[in-house]
Symmetry: C2
Subunit: 481 residues, 2 copies
């Protein structure tokens, strides 16, 4: 290849040459499906061509369906056509608020995670091999020894200050300027969401939610006697703002709940502009936005996505998160930045659980300050990115023709939409007999839609998992035939 940049006359040839070179790198496996390609700047340096030439080459390859651009991330090799089913379309839930009635799969999934004989593709638990177990154990030993009385005493109403300081510092990278005293620590993100819903809703009220949505949120809505209004949601960009606006015009809505970054189960990440619009739309109407950012630290791109809270001017956004997906689910260290609802949520916290466990709060605070959390995240995200891709490919090979699978850019869950004849509840039962858990689709909808969908946890990957996906796919394929 001619490595000196030429004038405009030859650049037409040049970008084709670059494109051909990249194509060969992909064909030969230097870059594999799902891998991120060299950045435009880097490739232009490596090949000594101009940046615009590389951009043109990448655009050509994108048109040919060989690579894809991901916002704020770069260019990636697309999954090979034969391996990758289509993405699911934007959801179309019912526009009528519903009293939530979902069966007790939640408890079953939680019970099953204690069973070491099962392959856990159901509950969205992180892979223990990616958790800093030894380091946390040494940390909790050190902090309880060092803090003495503090380690056995009640935390104050907001929780351990050392922890809130660390949370406030890290919130900067999510676009939030928070003071430690604006943060209420909670028993995981689940308690944060539960307290938030109790703070802003009364029984009978309607809550607008993504659809599908994490069943833990849905069951909380059910148990508080609230009604769920499911809003169409894109597996790429999250809740549909147009549909939400329409729904708000038609219904009296007391709160809106979204998982803004790498939503569970769809995996979508709301673009910044959507986040801003959502925050503004709700603040204008004085409707609180409950934002669950529990997967926000697990994006596959280098840059950590912002939160809707970053665009919150008047305290209408209640940001909820935890370290359950990145450090230790069992430590139950979560938090909320409740904005104008801080006092109310704090009072509710006092009577619902009084305080959080001190040793685990102190341990996480110490880990965040000194434990190399960022390094840990980089390692973890890389593994999950790879496994999400591998599992997506496996689904493509195994599941019946016409199945779709999401392409999340963070987190570790996949949403698989099978042909309508597939019954995910039956598939769940079959899988359990085969030693595998999956999360059936109806769990994720107040109206128990998505009967032909399942959520898979890609935090685990091994030959066993791959074989399980294969058998799941074959079983799904045999259904209704």
């Amino acid at each position: 290849m001619n490595t000196t940049e030429d004038n405009g006359v030859r650049s037409g040839t040049l970008y084709e040459e670059v494109a051909a070179r990249v194509t060969r790198l992909i064909d030969e496996g230097t870059f594999q499906p799902g891998d991120r390609l060299s950045s435009v700047r880097k490739l232009s340096q490596q090949l000594r061509v101009s940046i615009s030439t590389v951009m043109e080459a990448y655009r050509v390859l994108e048109d040919r369906g060989l690579i894809e651009a991901r916002p704020q991330s770069g260019y990636y090799v697309r999954l090979a056509r034969q391996d990758v089913p289509a993405e699911p379309a934007v959801s179309h839930p019912s526009p009528i608020p519903t009293a939530v009635r979902i069966s007790d799969f939640h408890g079953m999934l939680m019970r099953d995670i204690g069973d070491p004989k099962l392959l856990h593709l159901g509950a969205a638990i992180p892979n223990p091999e990616l958790l800093p177990i030894g380091k946390l154990s040494r940390t909790i030993a050190a902090v309880t020894r060092r803090h003495g009385v503090l380690s056995v005493a009640y935390n104050g109403p907001l929780g351990a200050e050392a922890l809130r300081v660390q949370i406030a510092r890290r919130a900067l990278s999510a676009g939030c300027t928070l003071a430690p005293d604006q943060i209420l620590t909670t028993c995981g993100s689940q308690e944060a969401i539960s307290l938030a819903l109790r703070a802003v809703c009364s029984p009978g009220d309607t809550v607008a939610i993504e659809s599908p949505i994490y069943y833990g949120i849905l069951q909380c809505i059910e148990q508080l006697g609230l009604r769920a209004l499911e809003i169409p949601t894109s597996p790429r960009t999250g809740i549909s703002l147009e549909a939400l606006r329409y729904a708000l015009d038609e219904n009296k809505v007391s709160a809106c709940v979204v998982v803004s970054n790498f939503s569970n189960p769809l995996g979508g990440c709301m673009p910044d502009d959507h986040k801003r619009q959502l925050a503004e739309m709700l603040a204008e109407r004085e409707i609180p936005l409950i934002e669950d950012d529990i997967y926000g630290d697990l994006g596959f791109a280098d840059e950590r996505p912002k939160t809707c809270k970053a665009f919150d001017r008047d305290g209408w956004v209640i940001l909820c998160s935890s370290y359950s997906k990145t450090l230790a689910p069992g430590y139950r260290v979560g938090w909320a930045a409740p904005g104008r609802f801080l006092d109310k949520m704090t009072r509710l916290k006092l009577t619902s659980s009084l305080a959080c466990a001190s040793p685990t709060q102190l341990a996480v605070a110490d880990f965040l300050a000194n434990g190399g959390y960022d390094h840990h995240l980089r390692k973890t995200r890389k593994v999950y990115a790879r496994q999400v891709q591998l599992m997506g490919q496996a689904v493509g090979r195994a599941f019946p023709a016409g199945s779709c699978v999401t392409r999340p850019e963070g987190g570790y869950v996949l949403w698989v939409e099978c042909p309508p004849r597939v019954d995910s509840l039956k598939l769940y039962e079959w899988a359990l007999t085969a030693g595998v858990t999956i999360a059936p689709g109806p769990l994720f909808s107040a109206k128990q839609k998505y009967r032909n969908c399942i959520r898979l946890n890609a935090a685990f990957w091994s030959d066993d998992v791959e074989r399980a996906i294969m058998r799941l796919g074959q079983t799904a394929d045999a259904m209704g035939k």
Copy 2:
């Protein structure tokens, strides 16, 4: 003294001789006010007189007001007349259910406990010097190392099995036969009570409660939109069964809440027969009884009191407790034995906090199994018994004439009823400026009664505390004069 037992003719003299001897032992300080006297059997052996002679002697001394019998415990030297104010009478709350509205003292008391410059006579925190801090720190270090993945993983819905096994074993001494799978672990007793109220009541329902009652329960009732029906309560024997029966006939009541052993704030311990009657009365009417036994392990007598749950035949009693008062408030290790409401409370738990912190559950389980919990309790109870007595005496010396103080037989809180002119809210404010916290009476009533009462925490005792009591008493005395 003639040490050989004589016939009936002389026994009249004999028991007087024994009584005179015991009186001298008391006068000379061998047995001090509040001390337990030798048991009847032991004294009969020591003095070589018959058991009936000693019993007669003790009865005489009891009549003279020098000693007092405590059920299941023995005979004690009474507090000297000049030191000990009278006991408060049975409470007389309003017979009309009330929407609860109490100001945010709860949060203030919780905030204040983090301030090392204050003397903590307000919130009912245990004395850290009596908590096994070093042993717990070594235990949590050992269990997180030993259990590895388990220490960072989610607990199942009911909580760590090792902990539930220990709880079930210990429940035997409270008269309960529980299986580990009938126990739901919670984030302290507070979460247990909150989940219990949510499981059995709907907003607007009426809950029958002791009066005065712990403000954490009262605020929980408020926040769940329930109404409180305050029932007259004796500082000795707890809730009045007659008054409760009458109230149940007049009102539709959805639940009843009692602190059956060493109630907070009155310190009363329901006699076994009352417990049985209460359990039966409510079961007949199919009204759930929420029983808080958080102080049950802290009785001053040798024998651990039973719970109402011991008399529960059909699962209508929801027993709640925790290790917050005996081991580590900040570990947040509590539990419920919810009887017929187990499934419902477990589902509520999943969406309100999902699970409890694993490391603290494993540490408490290990401490209960191997840490010498019973030995620890014996030591702790002895100190609290002494301090409760000393603080009661100090109150007697310091507070205005006409003040009353409770004589709890367990736990570590005292309830002081001052003359009507004393305003406990003003006393609270004055005390805070003097570096002391107290809990003002209106906190303990839905109708904000007990304005002239305060609750004092006797877990702490020192010259500073004694001086604080003196100044509190003087300030109270000066009020309204």
